[in-house]
Homo-oligomer: 325 residues x 2
């Protein structure tokens, strides 16, 4: 058994100092309509307005900023076709170190272009014929590059925790905090921050109903793996929690809920119509679950982490444009 | 000739105190991509996140908060099928006074519903057969209600000026400030604030190319009226500047530019893709004009007022969803 470096709230504080002036301090928005619907006071922490359009920039920048001189020279490698790819690419460019992002051959052209646009080199692999782990290992061995995974890493978790830290420092203690859940980086980091800053706050994870591995893991006490779930929440299609994220979630989180794709679309429409924001499906998980809990949340101060806003406009239009006005 | 009560920066300061805790202090967002495109440092003041989805709430609340006891009891009347209607309706509800909004019979059902939803009584008139001025006068005479116009009123102008005041207080002095222009309430108020807080700041108004009455008025020195212009910028389809707004604009504004509907759609797409925001066509006028001025703005600190985000989702999807990703 390997020894894990377990991140703590002190690591979140150190991460906040490292990202200061590099990550956006994103706004906290409120909505009278959301308050009325939930009978609560709701605070939305808007990471869709973060650099690269998602919270992932926080963890990526924090991890790369901790590289030593040898690591900086050799650079970073990451596997991702999503927000982590863009986060690592931009963070590496800002810190002046080389980055290689390994993407499947069928990744959307727009995502490949965006990742290249931030400065990284993109290496494409055939996901039916090649093993991305082997590709990563080879890059790491041949060039001495450091692999930064999308969630299962103490510096990534600590970086993601800075969003909840900013939220609670800005609005004060919360009674409940809803966080979307894929691999658990944002949830684990948020739990560290909320536990320290608002000890009585109940922390809830929310994942797509079609991929409830987190809920199964939380309830059974061991990491459960699933097949790639069919859901529009592409940021939460992870197959299992991480060995760094799971213990924190298991010990600090009150419960894990799920939301259906239909609920995510309804929440996207709410954010667009009432709050004038574009939120990607994954980013709506927290609010979608909170809407089911009007009775429990009545009179409470509720934080909702909106994770990101990266969705093709044509896809966004398709999902929200056709529905009831 | 009637004597005008001319609003000053002191009125903007008083308005800021009045709306404090009632209007949102909207966020200022930045975008690395916008900075790179303009070769400038760009600050977006996001009134699309204001209550009712537009800056109009500021002026409406300020005007109604100044009512005396007799005016409060009798209430307010307004003519509008747009953001002013919703602003007056919500402000009146919050201040506990009756409101009647006079709307044309063919106003979109969604706007009528939204205005009623905020608490006002809606009176519909047939715009081909009835005179809305006469209806308003009758309400004012019979019930003693006070008419609050959408822009040509000193308290409305002073209230609108609080957005630019917040912007400059938050980010510091600006070299240039771009403000969309319909009847000129936001532009005149912004000019009062910017002139006081950043005396060297050039203030630019921007209106739809199809309806450049403001530009004609500014350049000729007298208020020019036009026919209802054909433009997607429905918030800037006013026919002429006001007798309160024009003198301030004429004396404090550096120039008035125009933007085409195609430029507005391109700017809407930019805001959606790069900044994850829904901005109504009128709200993009400032940025659309700034994009034409890369040379002049190079190295400068540029403020852009985004006026609102109220657009039907189906219409939004139609305008931005079909274009190039």
């Amino acid at each position: 058994m390997t020894t894990l470096r377990v991140p703590t709230y002190e690591d979140v504080v150190a991460a906040a100092a490292r990202i200061d002036g590099h990550a956006h301090r994103t706004p906290v928005l409120t909505s009278r309509t959301a308050d009325a619907e939930l009978g609560a006071r709701v605070f939305f922490k808007c990471e869709n307005f973060q650099r690269i359009g998602a919270f992932k920039f926080r963890g990526a920048y924090n991890a790369l900023a901790r590289f030593d001189e040898r690591q900086r020279r050799a650079g970073v490698v990451a596997f991702s076709s999503g927000n982590h790819a863009q986060a690592i690419s931009l963070a590496a460019t800002l810190l002046g170190l080389p980055a290689v992002i390994v993407m499947p051959h069928d990744a959307p052209a727009a995502k490949v272009a965006a990742t290249k646009g931030y400065g990284a080199t993109v290496v494409v692999y055939d996901r039916y014929r090649e093993d991305r782990e082997a590709i990563g290992k080879k890059l790491a061995e041949e060039r001495g590059m450091t692999l930064i995974p999308p969630y299962d890493h103490p510096d990534v978790i600590a970086g993601q925790g800075t969003a909840a830290k900013e939220l609670i420092e800005e609005v004060g203690a919360l009674d409940a905090l809803f966080v979307c859940l894929g691999g658990g980086g944002l949830l684990a980091g948020s739990a560290l921050a909320a536990r320290a800053l608002a000890p009585a706050c109940k922390i809830f994870g929310v994942e797509p109903e079609a991929g409830n591995d987190g809920q199964q893991s939380f309830r059974s006490g061991r990491i459960v793996s699933i097949e790639t779930p069919r859901t529009i929440a592409d940021g939460a299609q992870t197959l299992h929690l991480g060995e760094h994220t799971f213990p924190i979630i298991r010990s600090e989180v009150a419960d894990i809920f799920t939301a259906t794709d239909a609920e995510l679309v309804a929440a996207m429409r709410f954010f667009a119509e009432r709050m004038k924001m574009i939120v990607e499906p994954t980013g709506t998980l927290g609010f979608a679950a909170a809407r089911r809990m009007r009775v429990e949340l009545a009179g409470q101060r509720v934080g909702i982490l909106i994770s990101g806003g990266n969705i093709d406009l044509s896809r966004f239009a398709e999902l929200v444009g056709a529905g009831p006005g």
